[in-house]
Amino acid sequence: MTRTSTAPPATAAGVPQTRKTRTSAAQRRAVLLFVAPFGILFLAFYAVPILFAVVQSLLTVERKGTFGPPQQVFGGLVQYQQVFQNSEFWESVGRVLLFGVVQVPIMLGLALVFALLLDSPLLKGKKFFRLAFFAPYAVPGVIAAIMWGFLYSPSLSPFDAITSQVNFLSADLVLWAVANIVTWVYVGYNMLIIYSSLLAIPTEIYEAARLDGASNLQIAWRIKIPLVVPAIILTGVFSIIGTLQLLAEPQTLRSFSSAISSTFTPNLAVYTTASVPNYSLAAAFSVVLALATFVLSFVFLKATQRKVSQ
């Protein structure tokens, strides 16, 4: 599928030697022209920062005497030792993992159900539902958190019948209040990805199944869901990445709830530590977080791929 132009067969056999080398030189220049802009930006704003963070995380601040000027010196893995001893950081990691284990399946489950309903013959007004469910995706996390923050808070909420009974912003529930916001924003997006993958299934398959007497539910369960597993895996990976990166929603909710600490999520811990400023420790947090994200999504991809291919 990615053949480059080789010389046309037979007829041109005598001529093209020189032309072939000329076109391939032109093509090499073209490749360079096409790849260079992204390559340079990627190096400058992806690769170099990662390296820089690794280097920074290996430094430590030392002072000559008690009041001497601070100096950055090579400290080896001192910062990583600190990372592993930092209970607040690991609590925040545990918190987002718990969040992910509960919220991601609920969100993707809902997205799958909605996508299947949109794809079923049971529903009228599909276009409306598609847009209505997708609309929250256009709401930035900060804005969504501000909106829901008002809706949750006992003194301001329009639903005070509920919020006077249950304090969603209390220490026990605030994590799930964040989960609700994230679900609200992203269900429609995930629904669309799964739905577009459902649309790609040729309808003949269903017709054959119907002739064999399969019900809608059986078709959904035995044909549609297995065929959209790759789409679900993709949404799963993005959800895992998103969960570990949680920042905007909890950070914004902090002005509504005192139950969200300054190290509520790993990224909040990074931000708080960087504001101290303790760049080396914050860089070490970032490196650990990036690695954890990478490993987790990679393992998830591999594990699900194996399962699918079995």
């Binding site: 073209a30 539902f129 709401v139 649309l199 990224n267 931000y271 990478f294």
Partner: protein, 303 residues
Amino acid sequence: MSAATAMTTKKSAAVTTSPRGPRHSIMSRGAAMLIMGVFTLYFLTPIWWLLVSSSKTGGDITGTAPLWFTADSIPTFFANLGNLFTYNDGVFGRWLANSALYAGLGALLGTIIAAMCGYALAKYEFRGREAIFNVVLSGVLVPATALALPLFLIFSQVKLTNTLWAVFLPSLVSPFGVYLARIYAAASVPTELLEAARLDGSSEARTFFTVSTRLMAPALVTIFLFQFVAIWNNFFLPLIMLRDQALFPVTLGLYAWNSQISQIPELRVLVIVGALVSILPLIATFLGLQRFWSSGLGAGSVK
């Protein structure tokens, strides 16, 4: 995988509803409509509340029926809007313009850059191609927020924190865009066509910009939209980079106002109206480009 594959493999036959199979009972139809109806309320009520609250004075937001307008909603709405754009020397308008610049121009340039790279990876054979693609793929798995602090450290080395560039330049890089562009270019730009263009004497770059980008249009719109949303929503990078209010994107500005409400209560109304105003451009962009991205996700791409 994902939308991209669907774009390319979609059979036009799938659009037309299949001939009715067995009759569907009223029960299951009703249940389906009920589920979707309940969740429509869940998804739209907060936005509706925002719209209604934007048309109330500070006291009325809590004092009146929360999900319905008051008698003088319309004049109050315009008064709120006026206050929003004049408060603090009209800094809110500045924030909107900044967001439009970061997200609009950033996504536009980012899409072109990603499309060129993805196209080269799909349609040319060269040494290191697979290596580059693998690096790009791992870039997809390294989340942007994990880069915010390292980027801050780099930019402070060259004394560029608290500038427009600190937010704009990193936003141009979209590994996922390259990934989508490659998949789509491989499927929708026929190699024979490129060969024909070469025989006609068209340069590679010209072929790309005049022929290939047209064939890739649905994917390009999709990449643009998702990058636009990603930049518009980006929070950590501006939060950590910017101190000067005049450079804030609208999300960071509203966040800053929201955290001052306890000291300056009149900001509450401005935050609510500002939130409404700030989501309108995104909704407008999605609706305006809907024809393109739903055709990207749907029919029209079978070659």
